[in-house]
């Protein structure tokens, strides 16, 4: 099997599985109880949070909450800070857990400001920051790494632009696709009001994530209950998942430089290979939706999104599936769901280009051989399918 959809999820690392299993077997106690085994569990969680803060070099000004994953982290921060009437802005290319959280405010008469007119190559044009000031925006929500394109909004650049042009606007980044794929600069934290991380995107367990946020901010809880985690996020903490997350983050950070290089090699090979295919097959027309030849401040090396009209991405996906190759896509070809990817459309693609696209996303487990096999299978699938789709067009 060749798995090239690591932006959807990643397989768990052996060490992570071991850590989760071991904790499941040994520590069952509720970390909120006053007796010894409960206190032991609590201590483990505190230690784990400290270690995570250490690995990510999170400064003491920021607080760390365990959540069920990226979606919850995004909801908790955005709704917890801005509900119901604080003015928000977003680029319009974010993950639904961001855009839908913001859209939720609309029913209270608080329309989020879309900066889509200011997107360039899938990133926020920093010249637009003054708009935020004019609109008295309190929170700007962006993806650190875009989940379909891999394009990067560099936190340092955005934060410094905000500081200059719109100092009252705080910055929240959805970092789910960033960690483990690009090296995180620890200087970014001081410009960030909030940042979300998900376990299963970095070879950790599903059902666990993090919200890192500036502890001076008051978040109203979205989940009420036993007042765990400063009362902001109630619910008994899942100790085994937290242990697994810690190990996953440790490995992601330790290997991030080496990973970034490895991913760069893979994506370079893929881009090169696609260009070669294009030269060989006159009917193949590749349009790269991700940035090529860009450094990690503009494009994550873990992801390559490209279009190839007129053949539909979903059909290619299923043909590759038959060869045991699994890739991602942003849009569906079904007669029922006619919606093509909002992100690709937002980037300015037409409906056909958006439909005829695939997203390849790598992890450290992938090899150059995987890329070559994909290229070969893709070439064959395209050639087989092209006549069928040519007629349609």
């Amino acid at each position: 099997m060749i798995y090239l959809d690591n932006a959807a999820t990643t397989p768990m690392n052996g060490e992570v599985i071991e850590r989760v299993q071991e904790t499941m077997q040994k520590c069952f106690a509720n970390s909120g109880t006053p007796y010894r085994i409960g206190l032991d569990a609590k201590r483990l969680i505190e230690k784990s949070a400290e270690s995570i803060a250490g690995y990510l070099q999170i400064p003491s000004t920021h607080r760390l909450l365990f959540t069920s994953g990226g979606t919850e982290s995004n909801n908790l921060f955005i709704k917890g800070l801005c509900f119901p009437d604080k003015k928000t802005a977003f680029l319009g290319l974010e993950h639904p857990s961001v855009t839908e959280s913001l859209a939720f405010f609309k029913q209270f008469g608080n329309d989020p400001l879309s900066l889509l007119p200011f997107q360039v190559e899938g990133r926020l044009d920093l010249n637009s920051i003054s708009t935020l000031n004019e609109n008295r925006v309190k929170l700007l929500c962006l993806s650190h790494v875009n989940n379909e394109l891999g394009t990067v909004n560099d936190p340092l650049q955005v934060a410094s632009a905000l500081e200059k042009e719109s100092p009252q606007t705080k910055l929240f980044l959805d970092g789910v696709q960033a960690i483990g794929k690009i090296v995180l600069n620890p200087d970014m934290w001081k410009g960030l009001a909030g940042y979300s991380i998900s376990g299963h995107k970095i070879h950790g367990p599903k059902g666990i994530g993090l919200l890192v946020y500036d502890s001076r901010l008051v978040l109203s809880p979205q989940m009420h209950g036993g007042k765990q985690q400063f009362g902001v996020r109630s619910g008994t903490l899942p100790l085994p998942l937290i242990m697994g997350l810690e190990t996953a983050i440790q490995q992601a950070v330790e290997r991030s430089e080496q990973n970034q290089k490895h991913l760069e090699n893979l994506s370079r090979r893929l881009i090169q290979g696609l260009k070669c295919l294009q030269d060989q097959q006159s009917e193949l027309n590749i349009r790269f939706n991700s940035l090529i030849d860009a450094d990690a401040t503009r494009q994550s090396p873990g992801m390559v999104n490209f279009s190839f009209s007129p053949v539909e991405g979903e059909v290619v996906l299923h043909h590759l599936e038959q060869k045991d190759i699994f890739v991602g896509m942003g849009s569906a070809c079904s007669a029922q769901s006619k919606e093509p990817s909002k992100i690709l459309m937002g980037l300015g693609l037409n409906e056909e280009q958006a439909r005829c696209s695939l997203r390849i996303s790598f992890s450290e487990n992938n090899t150059l051989e995987d890329v070559d096999q994909f290229l070969e299978a893709f070439g064959v699938a395209y050639q087989t399918l092209y006549p069928t789709f040519l007629q349609k067009a």
Binding site: E314, V315, H318, E321, S334, A335
Partner: protein, 395 residues
């Protein structure tokens, strides 16, 4: 010994049958036995006009949910089988009524008797009086009154030739005819809302419904296939022993798409599906085809197009939903529990095979001319050889 209950099952339409009645009764009894086979502690008997089961009390609730899935039952009651002794029946009545009466403060009640054993010395009204007066004697001081029209508690007594059953409840069953009594049919199952409902409706007319699904892999993923498996399983809850035929349809569809008129595509796909279904039906001796088509619902379901599709087969084609509107189909789907699965977003046809403007009034000679351009017999036979056959009970 565990406490026992008696289940009294009343037939639906079988009651109207004449000389064939025995056959239908046997079918229903067989289906009930299969449905309740999860317990081996049940005894069955069928005196005239009824089916009686003797079950452990602990099985009563499970039995109720299961019996509600067996077509051919008008209603059923769970009670106690006893001798037709007025004292004993009244005592049981008091035992059932008293707690309810005490918590409510007052209660209207009546006794209803049905006497199929005409040899029994008292008439039904006499039994009502005998039992009712005994109960009143004990409970009238606690607030019990007799009210035949607005009774809140009805104590029912069925006096049969061999046994008497006393009960206080009636559960509606699934009306219609027992599955299998009409024969085997083949339903063209898609992943949509309609075809599962049509299959269910035919199961309630005594058919054992088998399924055929036309699979689009690899153009579409395995999602559609998985969904149909789940739907077949859900419908099979009402009948058991169904077979699902999964026919690879991709090559046929590609041929039609590449060689035939674009606007005719959908009707041509359907004609081929009917032809393949007919072959399967012939092999397995199924007596009719069932579809979820409803008149005018989509372009392929106009009168002309339905006629153009039906004429490729000599089998009867039944469309139980033909006169239903979408809302009532949806309600039925919700009722039988297939709706949630049907609406899962799963493509059932890739847009590349869909025409921009499908024909609404197709002409058979044009369709035949189109079909002349492709080797459809070969494609059909090839699809049939590659067909997967799944026993739905095993899923």
């Amino acid at each position: 010994m565990t406490e026992r209950k008696t289940v009294l099952i009343r037939y639906d339409e079988i009651g109207l049958k004449g000389k064939n009645r025995k056959y239908f009764e046997k079918c229903l009894l067989k289906n009930i036995k299969r449905e309740l086979s999860c317990s081996d502690d049940i005894s069955y008997r069928s005196p005239r006009g009824r089916i009686l089961l003797d079950i452990p009390s602990s099985f009563a609730q499970e039995c109720t949910t299961r019996l509600k899935k067996v077509p051919g039952i008008a209603s059923f009651s769970i009670g106690v089988s006893m001798a037709p002794d007025f004292e004993a029946i009244s005592a049981l009545g008091v035992q059932w009524i008293e707690p309810k009466l005490l918590s409510a403060g007052s209660m209207k009640f009546c006794v209803r008797t049905r006497r199929s054993a005409k040899s029994f010395p008292q008439t039904s009204p006499e039994v009502n009086f005998e039992v009712g007066s005994r109960i009143m004697k004990q409970l009238s001081s606690k607030g019990l009154t007799v009210n035949i029209k607005e009774a809140e508690f009805v104590l029912e007594i069925e006096i049969g030739r061999l046994e008497t059953v006393v009960f206080d409840n009636r559960e509606p069953g699934l009306p219609g005819l027992p599955v299998g009594s009409s024969g085997n049919v083949l339903c063209l199952l898609s992943g949509g809302i309609d075809s599962p409902v049509s299959a269910y409706m035919m199961a309630c007319r005594g058919c054992r419904v088998h399924f055929v699904f036309f699979d689009n892999q690899p153009f579409l993923g395995r999602g559609g296939y998985d969904k149909v498996l789940r739907l077949a399983k859900k419908i099979n809850r009402f009948q058991a022993r169904a077979t699902l035929f999964v026919v690879p349809f991709q090559d046929m569809q590609s041929a039609i798409r590449d060689h035939c008129n674009e606007e005719n595509r959908v009707v041509l796909y359907r004609r081929m599906m009917y032809r393949i279904a007919e072959e399967i039906a012939d092999r397995y001796h199924f007596l009719a085809l069932i579809t979820g088509e409803s008149l005018g619902q989509v372009a392929s379901q106009t009168l002309e197009n339905l006629a153009a599709v039906s004429c490729v087969t000599t089998l009867s084609v039944f469309r139980p939903l033909v006169g239903m509107n979408k809302d009532s189909i949806i309600n039925k789907a919700i009722e039988i529990g297939t709706y949630e699965t049907s609406i899962e977003p799963q493509p059932d046809c890739c847009s590349v095979f869909m025409p921009k403007n499908p024909v609404t009034r197709s002409k058979i000679p044009f369709l035949e001319r189109d079909e002349g351009k492709i080797p459809w017999e070969e494609l059909r036979d090839d699809a049939l050889t590659r067909m997967e056959i799944i026993k739905v009970d095993d899923l």
